[in-house]
Assembly symmetry: C2
Homo-oligomer: 245 residues x 2
């Protein structure tokens, strides 16, 4: 059930049996979310965090004119809003992009962890810092990368994050997002994403059919995206998979 979450943690650090038990006993209700359902509304005080078990969620912020920026994608094993534990309410919404299943973790239980398990606390702190590292990489994409490089970097990131939790092979994975979703991640329009995708396909870097992404040439994809996976912090002592080329 929380194997993907444990896999994500163990890709970066050791989690003891005691800590694993503490995590398991912190779980509350299991909930399902429909696609497009709001998981965490902005500005509403929270008393729990949401551990994503299955499906894709995202965080986004928007402007008065309706333009929306997705600030991070979440995959199975991620906490979508662990930061609500210290922030109490979020400055953004979290929604399900696909049908999802999640475990709700009461903040009271997280607080008990901070009082009894300093190492696990630091690991969860690390986990929110990893979210921030992803935000920074996206800032780099949004501010400086071309459209082509943004998509290449995004796909490269997702392949690794999904592989860690057993949802991607070395070269392919299900990516049930629309081109509009991708556009909202990378600050582009759906039309331009469509054209840029075609361009990546024509160059035989990726294929994207039936909501499945296949990486045809990972070395070139990384190069096209100026992608350096070190911001994902996978060199810890865990079970990090081989990172390829």
């Amino acid at each position: 059930m929380i194997e993907r979450h444990l896999a994500k943690l163990r890709a970066r650090a050791t989690v003891s049996a005691e800590e694993e038990a503490a995590i398991r006993s912190s779980l509350g209700e299991i909930r399902e979310f429909a696609a497009d359902e709001v998981v965490v509304p902005a500005l509403k005080v929270q008393d729990h965090s949401t551990m994503l078990l299955d499906g894709f969620m995202c965080r986004f912020k928007d402007l008065r004119n309706g333009k929306r920026q997705i600030t991070e994608l979440h995959v199975a094993g991620d906490f979508a809003d662990l930061h609500s534990f210290t922030l109490k309410y979020l400055d953004h919404d979290v929604i399900a992009l696909t049908p999802c299943r999640a475990a709700l973790v009461p903040h009271a239980n997280l607080r008990r962890i901070t009082e009894q398990f300093p190492h696990l606390t630091r690991l969860y702190w690390f986990s929110t810092n990893l979210d921030a590292a992803i935000h920074r990489e996206w800032e780099l994409s949004l501010g400086q990368r071309t459209a082509r490089a943004r998509l290449a970097a995004l796909f490269s990131e997702l392949q690794i994050r999904l592989q860690i939790v057993g949802l991607a092979s070395d070269t392919s994975f299900d990516l049930p997002l629309t081109q509009t979703d991708i556009a909202e991640c990378m600050g582009l329009t759906n039309v331009h994403v469509n054209r840029t995708l075609r361009n990546l396909k024509e160059d035989r870097l990726v294929e994207f059919e039936g909501r499945r992404l296949t990486i045809l040439n990972k070395a070139e994809l990384w190069r096209a995206g100026d992608f350096d996976p070190r911001y994902l912090y996978l060199d810890g002592n865990g079970t990090a998979p081989s990172l390829g080329p």
Copy 2:
């Protein structure tokens, strides 16, 4: 000496006398940095974090072609790299934008805090989550705001962050950044920043002369930037309900 740091924390939560003492006793060496000096090099393992006492620092990432994205600005009172405590090394550089003074805080001392002061630990965790909230707001700027709105939002953010630590009045503050620095924050060119600044000046929203920014019409500036300060989490003022005792 660390009054600005305490002011920043106390703008969000209560800090007890004991906790204040713990912070003070965690301080190590005081260091000065010249403008442009590297404060924390990317990818190098750190054994301390850097509490900025005076001056402006920034975090940035760059691409092969030399294009650089500043991902966050740091002002007096901020930890520039508190996240290095859990991450061990950073995915980005930290440099001084102006001459700076900083207190180095050994990670060993931070670890002691996590073992003895759970509430203060949560407060520092909060603090890195606040950095992430700023990253998200910048993602929104970089992905969706016009150049004019980006500058308006940036100036609005800085006025508040600086006022909290006593370095800004309601309407003005020293902003010792070049137009190129500002451009690298907001994903623009220095030329376009220059033109956009003129535009803001012509509309009597701000003045920017001699490295001092004056806000002439804050309501209009906030409106121009689609600025909503709630992402800065300033409503806990002193009472700390969100972080518990």
